[in-house]
Assembly symmetry: C2
Homo-oligomer: 189 residues x 2
């Protein structure tokens, strides 16, 4: 088995999720995940620190689209519009093909308090990263933190709507509607 | 020493914070906290599950003012105004007398990643509790979650401003300004 097995990372993620959904996260071992993916434990540990991180590695992947969305927004865009652009860009990560994986992943996380806590911490860390990116664009505090937190909240709410049974709209359309809802909520009375 | 030592809880909280600030959270033991408070370890464990919970027990105390603010808001108030009322009510917890304690506590938490994570989870749990209270008032989703998350974000940002060196405005005034900022951020362009 080669050191750089092509697609190893994705195969490990898929195998892990199948086992977590089937027999449960707690009782699944790294050895079982590696075996189900046709890889060695050694290869597993080249990609992931532990069996929990298999589920959270996606944050490494989709933080960048958020940051790209912030960077590409017009210089004079309002902070909330910059965040809307960031969420729209990140929504591209959640394709229709990814929907079954995302649903299964969320099921595993919802069933396990430790994983649920880990998810909340990853989201908080994402918001802090995006607030820093806004400050680097010159957005002052508290606007930077307020905007970043609102953006991550809209993303989270939109994601939960997107993975609901029967939902077929693209994530970007859902997020756009949730941003409109946010604007209506905070509009002057 | 009586089973229900008057003020035991507050004495333990004060003693713990002094030790955490002075010698550090990691190296402080429950025995030292109890001794510094002039109480037994047994009394400590009647009030707190462990040395970490001494710092987070305040969430049990100030979640109620948030909920009272929601309950007492006019039935026809908009969700965001209900949250503003909740944050204003909870701000009453943060009196000028409490400012030194709050500053010291935040210093300990900021210095320790595990405590910082615990704080983020407590805030996420507070937001979920407030979203439930809004739904019980008839606020639909996603408005309930969006409003609760915005309220907790405003609270958090306001708290950080309130404990800054030299800050002397009441927390309620700061929070009111941050809510206004939020409105300006999301106002139609």
């Amino acid at each position: 088995m080669g050191r750089w097995e092509p697609g190893a990372r994705e195969r490990l993620q898929g195998a892990a999720l199948s086992l977590y959904s089937g027999k449960g996260f707690e009782v699944t071992t790294v050895a079982e995940i590696a075996q189900a993916a046709g890889l060695t434990e050694r290869t597993f540990y080249r990609h992931f620190a532990d069996k929990r991180e298999v589920l959270f590695a996606i944050y490494d992947e989709f933080t960048q689209p958020f940051l790209d969305g912030i960077e590409d927004a017009p210089r004079d865009a309002r902070p909330i519009d910059v965040m809307a652009a960031a969420v729209a860009r990140a929504s591209g990560f959640f394709t229709a093909e990814r929907q079954p994986y995302s649903r299964a992943r969320q099921g595993v996380i919802t069933d396990n308090p430790e994983l649920h806590e880990r998810e909340l911490l990853k989201l908080a860390s994402l918001a802090a990263t995006l607030a820093t990116a806004l400050r680097e664009r010159g957005v002052p505090e508290p606007s930077a933190t307020l905007s970043a937190e609102m953006g991550v909240t809209v993303y989270r709410v939109s994601f939960e709507m997107w993975i609901a049974d029967g939902e077929s709209r693209p994530m970007a359309d859902i997020a756009s509607g949730v941003f409109a809802e946010l604007g209506a909520l905070t509009a002057p009375a």
